[in-house]
Every structure is written in C-alpha cells, then in structure tokens.
C-alpha cells in the first residue's frame, strides 16, 4: 500500500527536476524533502505512535473491569473479551457514578459559551473593521493586548465579583467567564477576516442601499462562514475540555459541574475506577468529533472567488 501511494510522487518529482533549471528555491527543496517516500514513512510512524494511547483507551473502555486491573489492553489481541458494561454504568442515570448529568451540564455550558463570544466578537470585529470612530486603533490594540493576560490571574478577582453579584455557582458565571476569555482572540481573528473582504464590496452594498445592519447580516455573516466555523470549533474544544474555569466558578456542588470535573474526580478520588474513566473519556471525546465533522463543510476555500477581478 505504501509503495503504491508514494510511487506517483517520485515520478512527478523526476519530471520537475528535468524541466526546471538546477537552481532550486528553498521551498522546492522542502517540498521535495517532504514528499519523498521516507518522509511519508516517518509521517505514518508518527501518526501511529500518536494514536496508540487513544486506541489503547478505546480498547480498555470495552474490557471488563477485572481484566483491566490484571492485564494491559494489548492482551486483547491474544485473549479477546469485550463488554459494554462500562458504558452502561457510565450512562445509567440511576447510578451515582453516572456521567449523564455532567454530560448535560457540559452541553448547557458549552453552547452559550460558544455562541455568546462569537456573536459579540462579530459585532465588535465589524465595528473595528468597517466603521470609523474616535480612538478605534487604540481600542483595538488594547483588546488585542488583553490576550497577554493569563486567565489564572483573573480567576480570583472575577470570583469575588461574581460573589458580590450573586452569580457564583450558576451557569452565568461560567458562561460569562468563557466569553470574556474567548473574546480578544475572537475579535482579532474575525477582524482580520473581515478586513480581507474587499472594500468595494461594502461600498457596492452601501450604494445598493444597505445600512450597517444589512451589510452585517446579509454580506458579512455569509462570507465569514469559514472564520466562524474555525473559531466556533476552537472555542468549543476549549470550553468542552476546560476544567480550571469550571472548577473555580461552578461552585462546590454538582449542579453546574461539567463532565471534565467528573472525569477529574474519577482519576482523583477513585483511582481504581479505571474502567469507568476510559468509558467516560470516550463519551466526552465523541461529542467534539461530531461537532468537528458537522462544521467541517463550512471550511470552504475560495469563498470570495469571483467577487472582484484580480
């Protein structure tokens, strides 16, 4: 299989060498180096090594708890023994070790914590990119500079603020925190995308009778789909996998605790519940995969093609 895949590469390389003068740019050298069969082999090996722990986790999650404690996951190849019990226990709402309420919490946390920053960042980025107001540049640099602040620094002051506002321990505290932490990058990212849209398009729309609202909803949002999807996935993964923010603001109880906290507890307090941990981890991994695959179709290149000449 390997040989079949790489043979055409070699042929193409040979053709280019004979056509082109011997002087090569660094890019060409790099391209040649990276598309050689050896490079492909290295890439495949890296990919396999990288995937082994995840594969091991997947196998483990289907093994009976006794087997997990006794032997390593690779023994399934000689002694296959699979069960769905781990998943049943993790998803069964009647049990105390059930993951389901945390899973729901995670979804409740993630959806607004992704949509809110996107919405605000879109509006802000539009203002920064296409309107004129005093102090715009200073403000923009300030927003971008906020990215430098590590979120750990802000945790305690924010918590004090939430306590004063009686928001601590509610979903609002988590939603707002994620929004705040996500906004600077989102504004910067979307601003850059918006600036890439040719100015004549906006001018054409203005002459066609569109105000800022129409331009924003009918022109910007459709053209920004790839950027929105990219940031959406980024923010989704960040919020979904977040433990720190949830641990700080979700309060002591389990009412607003996300799945990461549950998994953390599994490893921490019940280090022996390995069989539950592997199944829980897999449930938590499958959702980002679904999100990624469903947003993937928006990653279209050349969305602006044909709008302006040149």
């Amino acid at each position: 299989m390997m040989a079949e895949l790489t043979t055409p590469d070699v042929a193409i390389d040979g053709a280019t060498v004979s056509e082109k003068p011997p002087v090569r740019t660094r890019g060409e050298i790099a391209k040649r180096g990276l598309s050689s069969p050896w490079a492909s082999l290295v890439a495949v090996i890296l990919a396999v090594v990288w995937t082994i722990p995840t594969a091991g986790l997947l196998v483990t999650s289907f093994r009976p708890s006794l087997d997990i404690n006794k032997t390593g996951w690779w023994t399934v190849f000689t002694n296959p023994d699979f069960t769905l019990d781990n998943y049943k226990q993790v998803l069964d709402t009647s049990q105390t070790s059930s993951l389901t309420p945390y899973l729901i919490n995670s979804i409740v946390i993630t959806i607004p914590a992704v949509l809110l920053p996107i919405l605000l960042a879109c509006l802000a980025a539009y203002a920064f990119a296409w309107t004129k107001f005093k102090g715009k540049n200073v403000l923009f640099v300030a927003v971008f500079a906020l990215q430098v602040v590590p979120i750990q620094v802000t945790l305690l002051p924010l918590l004090t603020l939430y306590v004063k506002l009686h928001l601590n321990g509610t979903f609002w505290a988590i939603w707002l925190s994620h929004t705040m932490f996500g906004l600077p990058l989102a504004i910067f990212l979307l601003h850059n995308f918006m600036r890439e849209i040719p100015g004549e398009l906006i001018e054409a729309a203005r002459v066609d009778g569109a105000g800022h609202v129409t331009i924003f909803f009918r022109m910007m949002l459709p053209m920004l789909k790839p950027a929105l999807a990219a940031f959406g996935i980024y923010q989704f993964l960040w919020v979904w996998n977040d433990l720190l923010v949830a641990l700080t603001f979700a309060g002591p109880g389990t009412a607003t605790a996300p799945m990461t906290k549950f998994l953390f507890d599994l490893t921490g307090s019940r280090g022996n519940a390995w069989y539950l941990l592997s199944a829980g981890a897999f449930v938590s991994m499958i959702i980002p995969v679904i999100v990624f695959l469903s947003l993937q179709r928006y990653f279209v290149r050349g969305l602006l093609a044909g709008s302006v000449k040149g």
Binding site: L201, E203, V207, D208, A305
Partner: protein, 376 residues
C-alpha cells in the same frame, strides 16, 4: 432622471495638503453621458466617489437634480455604481446580485424577478441567472455589474473604469454596448476612465482633470479641435499632439527654417512673460509631407515608421537649424525631441530619410509659452 451639479466641490484627504479634488464646478445635463478623464491620481475617481457619497465633501456642494446630496448617505442618493473590479457579492447568484438593491428596498418578489429578467435579457445574461459570480468569465462579471446598476433604474449611473479589467477586444466591444445602452435608457451617466480613446468614443461631453483641477469640459469635437491648454492638447488625441516652444519674430513663428504666420489677434495676446515665444501644437494628422522648396516646411529625420494598415506614422527627429537650438524643445507621444507625422500608408519614407513637412494652415494650436493657455 436628473441633472448633476458639482458646486465648488472640494475633497482634501486627511493628512494631505493638496486637495485631491479642488473646487470642482461641473454641470451635467439630464440624460447626458459625461466622461471624467485624466492621468492617474488626477482626482477623477475621487470626484465620482464624492458624487456616490463614498467620499466626504470638505467644501462646496453636490446636487442631484435640485436636491442637495452633499451630506446624504449613499443609499439615499438614488444612484447606482459600477466598480472597476465589479465588486459582485460572491455568496449570491447572479439574479440575487442584481436584485439585491431592490430586495433591500422592499420591492415585491415578483417585481424583482421581472426587472432582473428584463435587465438580464438586455445584457444577454438570462442563462447565467442562477450561477455564482465565480462561475462566470470576466466579461460576464462585468455585465452582471452593469445589470446590478440597470435593475435599480436610478437617477444617475456612476461607472468607475468598468472596462479596464477586460481584454482589448472585449473592451472595444463593451465600450459601444455601454454607450448605446446608455442612449437607450437615457439615464444620466458619469463615467471615469484614464483612456482618452474611451472618453472620445463614449462621452457626450468630456471633462479633463489634472491634479484635482478641472482643465476643460466640452464635446469630443471641441476637445480635439480647440484644447484650452497645453495639457488637454497633449492628453486628447492618439497619437498625442506634437508640442514645442518656438520664438516669434516679425509676426511669424520660427519653426526652424519655416515661417508660420502668427495671426494679429493672437500676437496681441502675447505678454512680456512669454518672452517672444509661443508654444505651438500640431497633431500628427495635421502635417503634410512636401518638398524642401516649400517655405513653410521644416525637415524631419525618420527614425522609425509605424504602419497600421490604414495609417502610417513617422517617428522622427527635427533636423537642420532646429536641432541645434536648445530652447526649441519639442515633445510628442514618442518623447522629447521627437515628432510624429502621419503619412500616406501607401507611400512611406525610408528609415534615415529626411522628409520635409508643413503644418496644414488653420490646424495649428497656439498656446502661451508662459501660462500654457490657448491663444488662438
């Protein structure tokens, strides 16, 4: 349908001293096709964008019809604009592109469809209505941009070099299409271009700008026959006019051995600043090849001959006494100290040959050597 009036309209870009458009006064009649033409950076596009409302007016006013639109938003000016790079909405189909303005205005769907289809028929776009811009060729995109303007049925069309992205053949074709379409629709049109051929062929009137200042407005014929200053004389016409500065003595302009009578009324306009010199312009097509014996003839040494089939142009250097004189510098489309002469394409001189040419009487243009303004 409306007139357009620039009343001392001025635009100064922030951070610059010199206005991009300086005190522009221009009145465009209802239904007229006016071409703004000039070299790049002359302020023609800025003038158009001021009319569109995309550029602020720092001083003066702009009227569409009787309405003062100086501080009106673009969307409320009832204008349609065609951009140089077309600026089509990439995420919409051709039909949606063309109907976008009407959709915003809240026109009923059936009417939008009908008007879009009408415009598409005029522009031969009917079969492309459901395509996205990226699936169209350059010429088709240009037509969609035109269609977007036509569908609006606006009071004024603004076109900012809409042909400059087309290849030469298509440009000539589209040029006539746009001109005839404008005559048919009768919509007042302001058209910006840097190409004087486009200006001459399309415009009812032409306005020449340079450095933000209006040089001259007139019909193509007026611009060609009576350019008001040296700049317009050199800009309009292809190949460009030969322009040189020559001494005047005894009521004659001395072009080397040749003597050209300077009319009395023109001579009377000379001032002391002119230092007894005039700037003389003569078009390549105003020159006749004669013999050395002709008193009004001056010699030209042929450098190259350009044969175009219908015409032939001699690019030559002035010879004889003219060549020695430092102050008798002549310029033309070919460069300094070069003259262009149109000759009979069936009878062209050889390279290196010396020909004698005369300026056909009445076809010379006399300008003040000091101010560059027309005297004759």
């Amino acid at each position: 349908m409306a007139t357009v009036t620039y009343d001392h309209a001025t635009r100064v870009y922030p951070g610059t001293e010199r206005p991009a458009v300086d005190q522009l006064n221009l009145h465009i009649e209802d239904g007229e096709f006016l071409v703004l033409v000039g070299p790049s950076g002359c302020g023609k596009s800025t003038s158009l964008r001021m009319l569109a409302g995309l550029e602020d007016v720092n001083q003066g006013r702009i009227f569409i019809g009787d309405r003062d639109v100086t501080d009106v938003q673009p969307k409320d000016r009832d204008i349609a604009m065609v951009f140089q790079n077309y600026a089509l909405y990439p995420h919409m189909t051709v039909a949606d592109n063309m109907g976008f303005a009407l959709k915003i205005a809240g026109t009923p769907k059936a009417e939008i469809r009908q008007r879009v289809e009408e415009a598409a028929k005029i522009l031969d776009l009917t079969e492309y209505l459901d395509r996205k811009p990226k699936a169209l060729s350059g010429g088709q995109r240009q037509r969609v941009a035109m269609g977007r303007a036509i569908v609006r049925q606006p009071q004024v069309f603004l076109m900012d070099e809409p042909l400059s992205n087309l290849d030469a053949k298509l440009r000539v074709q589209t040029r006539t299409q746009i001109a005839s379409l404008q005559r048919r629709l009768g919509v007042t049109t302001v058209y910006v271009t840097h190409d004087q051929t486009e200006a001459l062929t399309m415009g009812d009137r032409i306005a020449v700008l340079k450095d933000g200042l209006l040089q001259q407005v007139g019909t193509p014929r007026e611009m060609y026959d009576t350019p008001q200053n040296v700049f317009v004389a050199g800009f309009i016409g292809s190949p460009a006019m030969n322009i040189g500065t020559f001494p005047v003595s005894g009521g004659n302009i001395e072009v080397g051995p040749a003597r050209l009578a300077l009319p009395r009324d023109v001579a009377g306009k000379l001032t002391s600043e002119d230092d007894n010199k005039v700037t003389l312009g003569f078009r390549p097509e105003s020159l006749d090849v004669t013999s050395e014996s002709n008193a009004a003839a001056f010699p030209v040494e042929v450098n190259i001959v350009e044969e175009l089939g219908s015409d032939a142009f001699v690019y030559g250097t002035l010879r004889g006494s003219l060549a020695q004189k430092d102050d008798a510098v002549i310029t033309s489309g070919a460069g300094d100290n070069q003259v262009i002469v149109r000759v009979d394409p069936r009878n062209v001189p050889m390279k290196g040959e010396r020909v004698f040419v005369t300026i056909r009487p009445g076809e010379e243009h006399v300008f003040s050597a000091a101010t560059g303004q027309r005297l004759s």
